[in-house]
């Protein structure tokens, strides 16, 4: 179950991009829909946070960080 407002896209460009993703992958992944809707309310800041947490650290490799994320997601019973 998904909110229709997320599936529709907010601008012509977003709708076109979602259309291309649907053609290639069958559906737009849920996180992309949630980050794209009302970006100033949530997505813009959250994507910046994600970038810093997942890609800016020099203490662990990208593989290490992805492994941490996969482990935590599994503990939360959340698909990753």
């Amino acid at each position: 179950m998904r909110l229709a407002i997320l599936e529709r896209g907010q601008s012509p460009l977003q709708r076109a991009l979602f259309g291309i993703v649907r053609m290639v992958a069958g559906r737009v992944p849920g996180p992309i829909l949630a980050f794209s809707y009302k970006q100033r309310f949530f997505g813009k800041h959250f994507v910046r946070l994600l970038e810093h947490c997942m890609r800016r650290t020099r203490h662990w490799s990208v593989g290490d960080v992805e492994l941490f994320a996969a482990f935590v997601s599994k503990k939360n019973k959340c698909a990753y």
Binding site: M1, K38, F41, F42, H45, H52, T57, N76
Partner: protein, 134 residues
């Protein structure tokens, strides 16, 4: 020893790594502040009082959650699941909410407020444990 001026021991290297990590954590916490402000106080369909009340409830332990005035029971039950056991949300529960007085925009905004608050509460408890608190 490590070929860098002023770096004499493994302990110095450890301090350098800790210092770099602290800088990253400060940057992350500045972004978290902006994110929290946008979700709790930024322009949205749902009024700020309701967003903040939902966030306070979601960030509290499940057995000590403050009540949210004026929230329909079905919406409250859904938001409690978002905060604590999101994997138990069913399509039927979600569909029932969409048929109620809550608009899709409100549902999106309150879901984000609850999920963000619960996630940040877990982050803060983890950081407190790392820093030697409870």
């Amino acid at each position: 020893m490590f070929g860098l001026p002023g770096l004499a021991s493994a302990r110095d290297l450890g301090r350098l790594i800790d210092c770099g990590l602290e800088v990253l954590v400060k940057r992350i916490e500045a972004i978290i502040h902006q994110l929290r402000e946008a979700v709790m106080s930024g322009p949205a369909i749902t009024d700020t009082v309701r967003r903040r009340s939902v966030a306070r409830r979601a960030g509290a332990p499940a057995d000590a959650a403050p009540s949210v005035h004026g929230l329909p029971d079905a919406l409250r039950a859904y938001l409690d699941k978002v905060a604590h056991v999101p994997y138990r949300i069913t399509d039927e529960q979600f569909e029932a909410l969409r048929g109620s007085d809550v608009s899709d925009d409100e549902l999106f905004e309150l879901t984000v407020a609850a999920a963000l608050s619960a996630g940040l509460a877990r982050y803060e408890r983890g950081m407190a444990a790392l820093r030697g608190g409870r």
